[in-house]
Structures are given as structure tokens and as C-alpha cells.
Amino acid sequence: MIYLDNNATTAVAPEVVASMQPYLTTAYFNPSSAYEASRGPAHAIASARGKVASFLGGVRPDEVLFTGCATESNNAAIFGVMRANPGRRHIVTTAVEHPSVLEVCKEAEREGARVSFIGVNHKGELDVDAFVKVLQPDTLLVSIMHGNNETGVVFPVADLARIVKETNPDIIFHTDATQSAGKLRLDLNDQLSCVDLLSFSGHKLHGPKGVGALFVRRGTRIRPFMCGGHQEGGRRAGTENVGHIVALAEACKLAEAYMESENAIVCLRDHLEKALCERIPWMEVNGAGTDRLPNTLNLACHCIEGESILYQLDAAGICASSGSACTSGSLEPSHVLKAMDIPFMAMHGSVRFSLSRFTTAEEIDTVIEIFPGIVERLRRISPYWDTAAHAPRG
């Protein structure tokens, strides 16, 4: 099987599995207990917190909270900031956020907040002018994702956070870095020093599902999202998921080492992109010509539908994903592609390949061999495609 859906989830690295095992077996003790045996788990958490702090550019360990997933981190960030600052009700976000920010902001609207959703252009780039104009005297929170999960487009978060802080230092800046963690350097003491809150999770960087983290810069006005315990300094109640926390830290450490040593993913992705573009007419790269995550390739094939592409890829042993309506569970295509206003002939024909450090050159070659045939066969069936002319009809 060729797994190219790493923006959905990743394979757990063997070292990560090994690191968490003791806490699922012999060292099962509650880290909050009094006896000697619970010191092991307690130390493991402290050490994990240190590793994650180092992964985030050497922040203070007490600025790292462990959560259940990135969705929880996003909920905690947005609702926590709203509760701590009832006097200001304006939130700014983007139209292309992951649902765990987008839907939370819509929920915040129901609770009385005013939310501005900033749009993007056809390349997926944020409308920065609109962003600047929308900042208001009572703006409380800006939440803008770092790398987009569908297109891989990277927003200039460092710069946006700086603009926010220069406008009004009281505005809190949150970023969802779930897709960029492990792929781009996250230095919260340097280039991201204006970011107050940052979310990410374990399972997007070869850690397990069920664990995430929220960076909370010291001094940020935020209330706890989960109450009822002293854990995480009273800021996230609930007995610590020790094994998974250890695993997250191990995954961060491995990702850091990988980023320093090589950057093979981007070469493979670029090779895949170039080869497919050469072989397939009337296909666009969503987010082309702008800054993108090194592992993501989102294609829009004119005149065909993404679900039937995925089905044939799967039949050939290749796992990918699509933003088409038929794969979304609703009847609407992806909100990200709609926000980019990509041509409607291509809107339903999107396919996302997302690579990981475990992806091999042979796997990419297999996709290059198989994918053009799949597109061609579906186009022969499509009423919108002129097979003789190799172009859309009319």
C-alpha cells in the first residue's frame, strides 16, 4: 500500500511506540499519587514537557499544556480567551480554517461574539488588506492557521502576528499549527515571537492519536477550558494521558532531528507535481505559486469528479484524499477550494497527495505511472470532456 494521506494522519514511528509502552504496562500509576511508584510517570511528563518546549524554539516548559487533540487545543484557545475577556467581542479568523477553528468561531458568534472571516485569493493567499481593515478597537482574538490542511498553503503568520501586536498589543494571536508542526520550524522565541497561542497534535507528526498540545505564552489572559483538577497547573484538568504525552514528545524530538538532517519530502513532492503536470492536461495545482507545506500536493482535474478518482487510486493500492462533494459527507465541495474560487469545472475534481518522511521515491514513481491513466479513463466517460481534442468541450 502506498500511503499518501499524511495530512489526515501519519504512521506512528517505531521509536514513538517504544517510548510510550512502559506507561501502558508496568508504569501505569497516576502521576498525582503520593507513593514512590508514581514518580516515574510524573517525571516522564516533566521531561516530555521540556522536549516539547525545546521543539517550540526553547519556550518555558510551563508554557506548554498537553491536551487530547488539536481540536481540543483550538477549542481551549478560542473559548478560553473569550471567557477571560468578556469586555471585547470581536474575533478575526479566515474562511479556510480547519473546522475545529471555523465551527468554534461560528459557535462563538452564537455566544455573542462578532467574527470576521477573512477570505483568500485564487492561489489561497490571505487577503491581507482585508485583514488589516477589519481590526477594530474591541478586537479580542485573531486566529489564523499556519499551514492549510487541504492545499498546504502557508500563511505568513509571523508577519500577521506582528501587525496585530503593533496595532494593539492586547489583541491575542492564536495559530493552528497542526499541519506545519514537524514540517516547518516553529520558533516561538524568534520568528513567531508575536504568537500567543499555538495548537498542534501528535498524530500528524508520527505520534499517536489522542494527544495534542497548546502553547500558552506567559501572561496571556485565558480561562481553563476543562475544569475540575489541578493538572497542567489547573489550566487543563483531567488525569494526564502519560503514555501519549511521552509519545508526543518523542515524536517532536524525531521530527526536529529529521528537519535538521534532510528535506527529502519537498524533492519528492516537487518531482510528483512536475511529472503529473507534464503528463496531464487541464490540471491545476491548487496553491501553486505561493508558499506551501513541503509535503502537500493538491490537484484540480478539470471535468471529472474526485471520489471516482480516489476509488480507482484505492483499487491500485494508493491512499489519497479529495475535497469533492461526494467524499465530504455533505453535498458541498471543500470550503477551502470554494474560498479560493477555483474554476467550477475543476472544483469537484480535487485530489490531495500528502507525503511523509516515510514516503519513498519508488512509491512516487508508481503514482506517476498510474494516476494519468485514471484521469484519462474518467475523462473519456465525462460529458464535459472532448477526448479527441484533449480538452473540455466547447
Binding site: S308, Y311, C326, S330, L331, E332, M345, M347, P383
Partner: protein, 321 residues
């Protein structure tokens, strides 16, 4: 979401995309019947063509010898198209006999379809109906004299209920009855109406109202007050400047009585997002939204109408195009 298709569906799809002998991919040149359903904007579409062996004396004895399709859509849309053509060719039916093939037959042929994919089979049945209608016109067959009530798609024009898929009230009403749709979920699964933004579910004149109207209100379901407001009396004429309230009422009235019927006739729609001073922020919806050319034309049209009928200082700003 793993694949929830039957083996039969998967097999037909793979056979079709690989163009195996006996499959029905293609388009017949100079067909005796051609019918289309769906659109690329909605995510699936089918062009269905057939050829008949013409009976020299009686067109009603024409027999379908060949059926072909071109389909844009998901795995099940393509499999349903293949199923339709196979069923039709099996028994060399007359076009009138072919009309007996309902979406249920396509679903049965496929050994079932997931609920949310039922609309793929309805698309096949719709394209078939359209093609038979086309054949009847070509062959001078009067379908209504046979007691067959077939519609050309334009006959379904009317108030758009589902803006996301541009589906009109007459069309939805007809399908509710034909396919015995009893709930909003039934409607969405069969013809996609109400499946995207969902705003048409419970508003006055929306899907629930249509269901209640056809099947009678269900116990425990409160009917929304659909009573239309009386049209605004024309208060224009006096030289007195309008107050902000009067201006809003007037703009709203002209929108409702003059502009929206015009837009809806073309499958479009619009809503006022805001009125600040003399600026109307207008969001265009339905068939016209997303088409920049149409949006500009419509914006100018709306602006001219509002200037003429309310106040010439008014200007319109299109939002969300």
C-alpha cells in the same frame, strides 16, 4: 469514510472506466433520443442517448437497440449510468416501456446504494425521461394522449426553493409525489435539495412546507406562518425625503415585487446584506452566484431598478462574488 458500495456497483464502475466490452460508455451520433440531467456545478451530470429500430408505420413500436452515456460524477453515478443502459438494452424495450424503469430498479440492479447516493440513481431515471421526451418530439408521439405526463426541464421553472442546487418548487413538488418522498432527508437523498446550506428546510415555502402541503402536516410539526405580507402601497410621489425606515421598506418592497421575480425567472436569487445610508450591500445567490459576468450584469440591473423606483442616489455593492 470507507467505500460502502456493493460488489456489483464496484464491478460495474471498474468495468466502465476500463471500457470493457459490453459496457455503454459513449454518445450516439444523431441519436433518436437524448436527455441530460445534472450540472458540473452540482457535482454530477449525465448525458444519455439511445438509438431505436424505427417501425415504419407506428412509432410506438420503435424498439431501443442501443443506449449510451457520458457521466461526470462519483463511483456510484457512473455505475448507475452503466446499470441504466444495461437494463434498457436487456429487453429491447420500446421507449414507452423504458419509462417503467424507475430509480428503484437501478438501485436494485446495483444490489443497493448507500442512502446519500440515491440521487445518483434518480439522475439516471431523470436523464431517461428527458431522452424519451426528446424521442417523442422527434417522432411526433403525443405522450399526453397516452396518459403519460412527462416534463421538459424548462417546464419545471418557478420559484427556486433550494438555492444551492437551483431546484424549483414545481420540480421538487413533482419529485416528492413521484418518488413518494416523506421527509426532508428523503428529499435530500433523492434529488439533493436541501443537502448543502440547509436553509430551505424549515423556512416559509421551504421543503417542510412542501411536504406538509402534499402529505398533510405531520403530528407535532408546527407549520410555519407562510402568510405573505400584503404588497406595499406605492407611497412614492411626494417630494418629502424618505426616512431611513421608509427607505428600507421601499427598497425591500421593490426587491420583493420587482427584482426577485426577475432574478428567479433565470434561476438566480439575491438577498440584501445591509443598507448603510444610500448603499445597498447585495449578495447574489443561486445560478448567478459565482459567475462574475452575470454578477456584474445583475448588479447593474438591480441598481438601475432601485434608482428608478426608489431613489436615484442609491448604489448597489455586490457582496461575496
Amino acid at each position: 469514510m470507507a467505500w460502502e458500495y456493493s460488489e456489483k456497483t464496484k464491478q460495474l464502475f471498474m468495468d466502465a472506466v476500463q471500457g470493457k466490452p459490453g459496457t455503454h460508455l459513449g454518445e450516439i451520433e444523431n441519436p433518436d433520443g437524448i436527455g441530460e440531467h445534472g450540472s458540473i456545478a452540482c457535482g454530477d451530470a449525465m448525458r444519455f442517448t439511445f438509438r431505436v429500430e424505427r417501425d415504419p408505420r407506428d412509432p410506438l413500436r420503435d424498439r431501443i437497440t442501443e443506449a449510451r452515456y457520458l457521466t461526470f460524477g462519483c463511483t456510484s453515478a457512473i455505475a448507475a449510468s452503466e446499470a441504466l443502459c444495461t437494463i434498457i438494452e436487456q429487453e429491447s424495450r420500446t421507449p414507452i416501456e423504458a419509462l417503467q424503469i424507475q430509480n428503484d430498479d437501478i438501485v436494485a440492479f446495483l444490489d443497493g446504494l448507500p442512502e446519500q447516493k440515491i440521487h445518483c440513481s434518480v439522475m439516471g431515471a431523470e436523464a431517461l425521461e428527458a431522452a424519451v421526451y426528446n424521442w417523442a418530439q422527434k417522432r411526433g408521439v403525443d405522450l399526453s394522449s397516452l396518459g403519460i405526463d412527462l416534463h421538459e426541464e424548462d417546464e419545471d421553472e418557478g420559484r427556486i426553493v433550494c438555492k444551492c442546487f437551483s431546484l424549483s418548487e414545481p420540480y421538487i413538488r413533482r419529485k416528492i409525489k413521484e418518488l413518494d418522498l416523506r421527509t426532508i432527508a428523503d428529499i435530500t437523498h433523492a434529488i439533493k435539495a436541501g443537502g448543502a446550506c440547509m436553509s430551505c428546510h424549515h423556512k416559509p415555502g421551504g421543503l417542510q412546507d412542501l411536504l406538509d402541503d402534499i402529505w398533510g402536516p405531520q403530528e407535532g410539526v408546527t407549520r410555519s406562518a407562510a402568510a405573505a405580507e400584503p404588497p406595499l402601497a406605492d407611497e412614492r410621489g411626494g417630494g418629502e425625503p424618505l426616512t431611513a425606515f421608509q427607505l428600507m421598506r421601499r427598497v425591500d418592497g421593490v426587491m420583493r415585487d420587482a427584482i426577485l421575480p426577475m432574478l428567479r425567472a433565470d434561476g438566480g436569487d439575491a438577498e440584501i446584506v445591509d443598507i448603510k445610508d444610500m448603499t445597498v450591500y447585495l449578495r447574489l445567490q443561486g445560478a448567478c452566484a459565482g459567475c462574475a459576468g452575470a454578477a456584474t450584469t445583475l448588479k447593474l440591473l438591480v441598481e438601475r431598478t432601485l434608482k428608478e423606483q426608489v431613489d436615484e442616489r442609491l448604489r448597489v455593492i455586490a457582496v461575496g462574488v
